[in-house]
């Protein structure tokens, strides 16, 4: 969707406004994001512009005021003008991280407590249970009083004050929480300011609420804050409602979109709320980003990404998305290239480099990973991303204790650092500390329920502990998150097999085979050869398992068919899958002790060559041929076995027996 000149200018102006507005409200990350996007719009020959427009107006349009933006609402503008001095004071307090002091500039504690004691009874139905009990206590005291008005403040100041309160609560929460994974670290320290903020906002909204449920003159920021508070309260439905309201009112607040992403845990959810969203470019980006978070990798997604990139060709955010898209389709080489390119463009940018380190880990590129760690450490060694990168590097060096140490550090810096929790779980698995591993995975899942690796890790850990019912449950969660990932299904299948549920197991494993070839095709298509048939290389391991289960079900024909198929994998289908082979094998080779998706490279070349699985299959086939009296076939297979050098003794015995039979 190419934009014309005017649209671009408009977009640019809107983004400029967004940067200033976000930073006015101390939403630093959103401001950063908007600014990154803003600078990635290519500037068409900007020199010609000032000449054709009137000279007097250029400074006004070209340069938005950096410190304070105007407000379109005259009433708000008036209020803002009146409060400008306090506002500046409050803002500088916030910048100095003196949150409580910042809040007290506009909302002294006396006012807050006054509002709290009166405002509650009206909104009892929406407040939390904890608030309810408090509300009852206060209602007995002040039920007769008329509701006092919230102080007359501009929305901007109000937002800043309440946001400062929120941040102060977060800060206290961090200070109160124990050492990561320490004995008292339950992960349940709460932000104590939430109740206050929620009550205040309820009062504020109820004052301005009209019949149709819309607050008059509200500009979206307070809705965002309220949504955030509700999210923390786990009131997700309501939160989503308020967040959507907020993006309707002000679309350029990226933080708000991110909160929404965090609330969506399935594709269905995304599809359900899409119609309620405003139709604009931000919503488009949101859709893309959320889909990526949900591990989607459809071609429509890559198409929309391409469209966005045509508008913002150098946006680091979009380039990251591009790389992640490739990562999700297990196309590590492309992902690596994208990230590498990103690194060259923005050497100081650390965001999402942890994903890059995962990719390098899977590709086993130690020098590159070491350089990445070096770079991150030089830029800022106290960023969670840096710590994760370093942790990954140590993990690759097999110094798991050190890796755990760095993941821990990442978590100390940011407890919601998802990848650190998951990766720490992996490390604990390596260290054979299953309890810690389970706890880490659990915390990862608590932070973000969409992380299939954590679910998968949980499953694996329970499988190690031989608690298959639990493992199955977690594997199913993982498979639900990544329905097209063969590895998940394979895990489900083998788990079912171990539990003796062969029929279901066969189903799951067949699905795994299908999933493998799905990715196969997905990638293959980009290389111009859409191979979708069964002839694509399949994992002999899975085939062997399926065959084994059929055998147990006494379905010899099926079993034999799968065994044959398994042996056939040695030659491979064709060598037209040069590029995709790695991906498949990276995934499907994994055994139980491998924790990362697709760790370990696959065999090079088209076919798998002789593996333990194919040899077993061949042995089975030979014995089967013996049983059915097809001695020539048995002879052929047994001699092949002897040549392969696997289980030679048994094969030789078989050969002798066949000879005896043939002679006899």
């Amino acid at each position: 969707m190419p934009l014309n000149e005017r649209d671009t200018a408009q977009l640019r102006a809107a983004l400029q406004g967004a940067v200033v507005k976000c930073s006015e409200r101390c939403l630093y990350q959103s401001a950063k994001w908007a600014a990154e996007l803003l600078t990635s719009i290519p500037t068409s020959d900007s020199l010609s512009e000032p000449e054709d427009s009137q000279m007097t107006e250029v400074p006004l349009e070209g340069l938005p005021p950096i410190v304070v933006t105007g407000n379109l609402d005259p009433e708000e503008a008036q209020l803002e003008a009146r409060e400008i001095n306090q506002y500046l004071l409050a803002k500088s307090f916030f910048d100095c991280r003196e949150y409580d002091r910042c809040a007290a500039v506009f909302l002294p504690d006396t006012i807050l407590s006054g509002i709290l004691s009166t405002a509650v009874p009206k909104n009892q139905n929406t407040s939390t249970p904890k608030a309810k009990s408090k509300g009852k206590a206060s209602s007995t005291r002040s039920s007769s009083n008329p509701v006092p008005k919230t102080p007359r403040l501009s929305q901007k100041s109000l937002f800043l004050a309440l946001y400062a309160k929120f941040m102060s609560g977060e800060k206290k929460k961090d200070e109160d929480s124990e050492m990561v994974m320490g004995p008292h670290d339950g992960g349940n320290t709460a932000n104590k300011q939430l109740v206050v903020i929620a009550r205040f906002l309820e009062a504020w909204f109820s004052e301005r609420m009209e019949e149709n449920g819309e607050a008059v003159g509200s500009q979206g920021w307070l809705e965002y804050l309220y949504g955030m508070v509700l999210v923390k309260d786990k009131n997700e439905e309501e939160a989503m409602r308020w967040l959507i309201k907020s993006v309707h009112l002000y679309q350029f607040n990226w933080g708000c979109w991110l909160e929404m992403t965090a609330l969506i845990s399935r594709v269905e959810d995304l599809n359900r709320i899409s119609p309620h969203l405003p139709q604009n470019i931000l919503s488009f980006i949101f859709h893309l980003h959320t889909s990526l978070e949900l591990y989607q990798s459809t071609s429509s997604l890559s198409r929309s990404l391409d469209q966005l990139l045509s508008i913002f060709p150098t946006s680091p955010f979009l380039l990251t998305c591009l790389a992640l898209l490739a990562y999700h389709t297990k196309d590590f080489i492309t992902a690596d290239a994208h990230f590498s390119n990103l690194l060259a463009l923005h050497p100081h940018r650390l965001d999402s480099l942890d994903h890059y380190s995962n990719i390098l880990y899977v590709m086993n590129l130690r020098p590159k990973l070491s350089f990445l760690a070096h770079l991150c450490s030089s830029v800022d060694k106290f960023r969670p991303e840096s710590c994760v990168v370093i942790g990954n590097y140590y993990s690759l060096l097999s110094s798991h204790e050190k890796a755990v140490q760095y993941f821990r550090r990442a978590l100390t810096l940011d407890r919601s650092c998802l990848s650190a929790w998951t990766l720490m779980g992996h490390e604990y698995v390596e260290l054979k500390n299953t309890h810690a591993a389970i706890e880490s995975y659990r915390r990862a899942v608590d932070v973000n329920r969409r992380d299939y690796r954590a679910w998968y890790g949980l499953g694996q850990t329970y499988e190690v502990l031989e608690m298959h019912a639990y493992a199955l449950w977690y594997y199913k969660r993982a498979a639900g998150l990544r329905p097209w990932d063969g590895k998940m299904w394979m895990a489900v299948g083998s788990c079912l097999q171990k539990m003796g549920r062969d029929l279901e197991g066969i189903k799951a494993l067949k699905r795994a085979l299908l999933a493998d070839s799905y990715y196969d095709a997905g990638v293959g298509s980009s290389f111009g050869s859409g191979v979708r048939d069964r002839g694509g290389t399949m994992d002999p391991e899975i085939l062997l398992q399926i065959a084994g289960m059929y055998e147990r079900l006494d379905d010899d024909t099926e079993a034999r068919a799968y065994m044959e198929m398994c042996v056939a994998q040695e030659e491979g289908a064709a060598d037209n899958l040069e590029a995709s082979v790695i991906n498949i094998h990276a995934d499907s080779q994994s055994s139980d002790d491998e924790s990362k998706p697709g760790a370990g490279g696959g065999d090079p070349g088209a076919g798998t060559g002789v593996t333990a699985a194919t040899s077993k299959a061949r042995m089975w086939l030979a014995k089967y041929a013996m049983r059915t009296g097809d001695y020539t076939r048995a002879m052929q297979l047994a001699t092949e076995l002897c040549q392969d050098g696997v289980e030679v003794e048994e094969a030789k015995a078989l050969v002798r027996e066949v000879r005896v039979r043939l002679e006899g």
Partner: protein, 776 residues
């Protein structure tokens, strides 16, 4: 700052690998091995004095240059011809081309080591064949092996940031060889030695790669620091060495070294606590009491946490010594007493013995302070105390203490004037011990004792020789204080013979840096002052002498050396005599004698005082009054075999005899004394003896008849001895003596009737006086 690893250590590891690769030819094995060993075990440096010059050229931090000079000379045993070991070495260090490669490098280090039995078994199970016999493999406990193992462990415990610093430091360290390396290997790219950047260049392009390099390696900082090149291990080693040096030599840190130290220590966050100790020593030596006090406390505060209270007594001991050095004797004694009781509690015998020894010496030096603390009962009577110490030292194997207690016993015997044989016995015992245990540091006291003993026995020649032997052979390993004292003694002997300039030269020739130490400097200044004072007194330059004396008397308070202060006092008396202020001189003598009686000081000094008293009586014109004093002095000196003092006393007795008109007896005494006295090489003694002899002969001449042959004979003898006395005086540059002799000569000439000659001598006398006035 890392704990152990530095770029140069990586270089050493590479060198070790080079050695195990069997590339090093047999002929170059020894230099290379000794190079590495010298780095690993710096203590064996001293055992190879032959190579000292070449080794001293090595910098504290090994740079690439040192490796190059070592390796470039040796051809490699294998590989391409024409390649030296240096090329192989460079290949090894340039193969480390990324942070990851560094990790791999360290991970591979264990391949150099011999495998333990378990590992071999495991390898056997895995199907890995055991290493072939002819491979060079390091034993795990060899110096190389332990170095390799330690490096590996240290690397493993590095945090990522430190590993990174090591890598960047290493890159910087090897940078100098880049041009050589890339020339040798054909033109290599800009990013040689950094695979990440080299690989990335294709992908990113030149500009972006440079940008990334700047970001990663922080090329923006302008300062060229040694960061990552120094490990705290190095610093600690350096500090230990410096402290050892300071304790052994007793000098301060040279200025340039101090600056370097500071720059290194500034870099590290963890300041080794030893550096506080170093600061303490330096401040102590420089005489900065508050700072040294402060630093000592700081040092013990920092060491307390990791070494526990066990070392409390050492803290106290250091404190006591420090206090004593700055003249706070009461505090010093209190601290030392606490040291003793703590050491007893902790059963720390070495510390206890040392403290008792110190207490003993302190008690000798400051008896009045010890008296106040009623601690005498701790060691009992002196001799018993020493015997106790000696036995204890023997039991605990503290050889230094043992030999020093033997020497102390010898010294005690000497100052009490006891049997010379037993003194020799003690010295010999100690000597045996010192040679047996190779205690170079004890050589100073030992030689000093010998020298003093021979001096007392009147064999100045031997005494001087001992001094010179020490200065030329042992001074290198001994405390600077000893060197200073011996030099002082040599200068003293020279000045007794009137060689003032030489004596001064000796003093000036001392090491300037060592003289920065406060105490040594004080001693040195005093000694020079004494030399000048002597000269001024002899030249009759009394005003200048007065000035000097007032300064010297001030500085010779309670805290200065007792021998020096006695010398100064004697010179003071001499000054008063020359001023003919006999009353004050007498008072001074009485005062000194009273003080000495109280403290029970050295017998030699007491005799000197007695003699001086008798001499004073003589000067006052009442020589007989000094008779009993002189006889007492002589008898004591004889009993104690204090030969020079004996001759002194005998001279006084002879003089008294002369005054009693017992000329013959006097002459007999003097004639028999003189040849032995000449051995003492003390000009003033000789001159005095000669002049007394002249007096005696003069008296004998007076007893003879006028004009008799006998009289003439005696007068001629007089003239002869006057000349001798005059010579002695003139070598001392003693104007007054010279004048006296000249006057006597003129008188004799007049008696003989040779008026012309008498006139000549009289004018010579006047000339001398004039000259002296001019000199002043």
């Amino acid at each position: 700052m890392t704990r152990f690893l530095t770029p140069s250590k990586i270089g050493l590891l590479a060198l070790v690998e080079l050695y195990t690769d069997a590339i090093v030819p047999t002929s170059s094995t020894i230099p290379i091995l000794s190079f590495v060993l010298n780095q690993l075990l710096p203590n064996n440096l001293k055992s190879q004095p032959r190579d000292l010059a070449s080794l001293q050229a090595l910098p504290f931090l090994l740079d690439l240059k040192a490796f190059e000079t070592l390796l470039a000379a040796h051809p490699a045993a294998s590989g391409l011809p024409g390649r030296s070991l240096w090329d192989h070495f460079l290949k090894k260090i340039w193969d480390i081309d990324s942070l990851d490669a560094l990790h791999v490098f360290f991970a591979r280090r264990s391949n150099l080591l011999a495998k333990s039995r378990d590992e071999l078994k495991k390898d056997g199970e895995m199907g890995i064949p055991p290493p072939s016999e002819d491979m060079i493999i390091l034993s795990r406990t060899s110096p190389f092996g332990s170095f390799v193992r330690r490096s590996k462990v240290e690397f493993e415990r590095l945090r990522f940031g430190d590993a990174l610093a090591l890598w960047t430091g290493f890159k910087k360290w090897r940078h100098d060889s880049k041009t050589y390396w890339s020339r040798r290997n054909g033109a290599l790219g800009r990013w040689v030695g950094d695979s990440a950047l080299a690989d990335g260049e294709e992908e990113w392009g030149m500009e972006a790669t440079e940008m990334l390099e700047l970001v990663a390696y922080g090329g923006l900082s302008l300062e060229d620091t040694d960061e990552g090149c120094v490990s705290s291990d190095d610093v600690e080693k350096l500090l230990e060495f410096q402290v050892e040096q300071m304790q052994k030599i007793g000098s301060r840190i040279p200025m340039e070294v101090k600056d370097k130290f500071r720059s290194i220590l500034d870099e590290s966050i963890m300041i080794p606590s030893l550096s506080h100790y170093l600061n303490f020593l330096d401040a102590w030596r420089s005489g900065d009491y508050p700072t040294s006090f402060d630093n000592l406390h700081r040092y013990f505060d920092y060491t307390m946490q990791n070494r526990d209270r066990l070392f409390y007594q050492y803290a106290l001991m250091n404190l006591a010594v420090l206090q004593a050095d700055f003249g706070c004797y009461d505090e010093a004694v209190a601290a030392m007493l606490e040291t003793i009781s703590t050491a007893r509690e902790n059963k720390d015998n070495p510390c206890l013995n040392f403290a008792l020894n110190w207490m003993y010496h302190f008690g000798k030096a400051h008896p009045n302070i010890i008296k106040g603390t009623e601690s005498t009962n701790m060691l009992g009577v002196e001799r018993e105390g020493l015997a106790f110490l000696r036995i204890k030292a023997k039991e605990t194997g503290m050889w230094t203490l043992w030999s020093s207690s033997l020497l102390s016993e010898a010294k005690l015997g000497m100052s009490n004037g006891e049997s010379v044989a037993s003194i020799f016995e003690n010295i010999l015992k100690s000597s045996h011990l010192i040679v047996d245990k190779n205690m170079k540091s004890m050589m100073g006291p030992q030689v000093a004792m010998y020298s003093a003993l021979w001096q007392r026995l009147g064999v100045t020649q031997l005494s001087r020789q001992y001094c010179q032997v020490f200065l030329s052979c042992h001074a290198r390993y001994a405390l600077f204080d000893d060197t200073l004292r011996f030099t002082g003694r040599v200068a003293h002997l020279l000045s007794e013979k009137g060689h003032y300039d030489e004596a001064m030269e000796k003093m000036e020739s001392l090491d300037e840096n060592s003289l920065r130490s406060w105490k040594a400097n004080q001693y040195w200044l005093n000694y020079r002052g004494i030399l000048r004072l002597k000269r001024d007194l002899h030249r009759n330059n009394l005003d200048a002498a007065d000035l000097l004396l007032s300064q010297l008397l001030q500085s010779s308070g309670a805290d200065s050396d007792s021998e020096l202060s006695f010398e100064i006092n004697m010179l003071h008396i001499d000054y008063l005599i020359r001023r003919t202020d006999y009353g004050r001189a007498m008072a001074k003598v009485e005062q000194l004698a009273a003080a000495m009686k109280e403290d029970g000081d050295d017998i030699n000094l007491r005799i000197k005082l007695l003699t001086m008293k008798a001499l004073l009586q003589d000067k006052c014109g009442r020589p007989q009054k000094g008779f009993s004093v002189a006889v007492r002095a002589a008898s004591i000196a004889w009993r104690a075999r204090l030969i020079p003092a004996l001759w002194d006393a005998m001279a006084v007795i002879a003089n008294i005899l002369t005054s009693l008109s017992e000329f013959r007896a006097s002459v007999q005494i003097l004639i028999s004394v003189l040849p032995r006295a000449l051995e003492c090489e003390n000009c003033s003694l000789n001159a005095q003896l000669y002049s007394f002899l002249v007096n005696a002969y003069m008296g004998m001449a007076g007893q003879c008849e006028k004009g008799s042959l006998k009289r003439k004979e005696n007068l001629t003898r007089c003239l002869e001895f006057i000349d001798r006395a005059f010579n002695e005086y003139s070598s001392l540059e003693d104007i007054k003596g010279q004048c006296e002799m000249m006057a006597k000569k003129a008188t004799i000439m007049r008696i003989v009737g040779e008026n012309v000659l008498a006139n000549d001598y009289a004018s010579a006398y006047l000339d001398l006086k004039k000259e002296a006035a001019l000199m002043a």
